[in-house]
Symmetry: C2
Subunit: 186 residues, 2 copies
DNA sequence: CCGCTCATGTAACTGGTTACATGATTTA
DNA sequence: TAAATCATGTAACCAGTTACATGAGCGG
């Protein structure tokens, strides 16, 4: 049974995110997409050139994106827009049912470490919590600024999305307070 | 300048997590470590054989783990314990300062999608939120059960860690309530 | 004795990363 | 005019995944 290779049925989250970005920004270059990732603290992906350029080309070949050859002076400038197929894929990504994995636990380096705090003595445990709190407070400020930035830009959906990240950081901070109380109480 | 290859200076989070697990469970087999990952909903890693077995061998060769050849009947059974070097690595992982990335934003498939909800019409947006809430409630129950399980097992640190995951899921649910209000209000 | 779990692995693949290379355009 | 940014890519690598293969021990 010869599987047809090279034709992917399901797009990755990164690919679908790129479709969403292109839809908002169209017509835009692969570089602009890349910047959207790397210039924002809100993204899990670094948006490296080595990821974005091949990915965008793939999406073009698969018909999800439409490319247009332009130029700026004598420099070639390839801009993209969302094709009908791409819009359909984007909608299917968002429409219920979500995959089970969507609600699954998220990776948190601080929580991951906290499983093993038994190897530290009480003073060190407290130092861990204090350091983690400091870093999360900084992250919180960043995220809040990002919400404000989106709101100023009139992108209410992104502001709403980002406020989810704010909620999560607040929850992580509240949890660290629990930890601290537990450590200093015992 | 010939870089010495094959000798890694920094261990990954997965490797350090394995060190932590072995420390708790020692003497234990690679299989037991694998089960710890795959049998728990609390882990980001699937703990696949293809990841764990080579990883454990690496940690043994680098001196972080000590192996002991045993048998169960006529079946060979290789058990591991944490070496002094491994304990040191584990402590350094936990001791401040944490890396900046530790506080960084986490990947959330639901939030990632929510950036692009503008492509859906209001009824579909609501359906998205309702579906996401349903799934997160299920995840919350799972996580709470996990906390209880750890607590029953007397592993207070893991219970505490897992309660961080509970906090985060609660925050995600609260955020979805915000979203829902926003969508039905406008 | 059948099927499940314990136990140990390997091979091929995947989806990203870093680092590098090139050159035009804009800005200080 | 030098440095930063725009713009487009490639090559090597990396840390995981899925899927497969093998076989012993154990409970119904």
């Amino acid at each position: 049974m010869t599987l047809e290779r090279g034709r992917k049925t399901v797009l990755t989250d990164l690919e679908l995110t790129v479709l969403g970005i292109v839809r908002k920004r169209a017509p835009c270059t692969a570089y602009a997409v890349m910047r959207e990732f790397s210039s924002s603290p809100s993204s899990y992906y670094r948006g490296s050139a080595g990821a974005i350029y091949p990915l965008v080309r793939r999406l073009e070949k698969s018909g999800h994106l439409e490319a247009r050859e332009g130029r700026q002076g004598r420099r070639p400038r390839r801009t993209y827009a969302l094709a009908a197929t791409g819009l359909e894929a984007l909608r299917n990504w968002l429409l219920p049912p979500l995959p089970d994995a969507a609600a699954a636990i998220t990776f948190d380096p601080i929580r991951t470490r906290s499983y093993f705090l038994a190897v530290l003595d009480p003073a060190e445990q407290l130092a861990f919590v204090v350091d983690a709190e400091k870093r999360l407070e900084a992250q919180l400020a960043l995220n809040e600024a990002e919400v404000a930035r989106y709101r100023r830009a009139g992108d209410e959906f992104s502001a709403l999305a980002m406020s989810g990240a704010v909620r999560v950081v607040q929850a992580r901070i509240a949890w660290l307070a629990d930890l601290r109380e537990h450590f200093s109480g015992s």
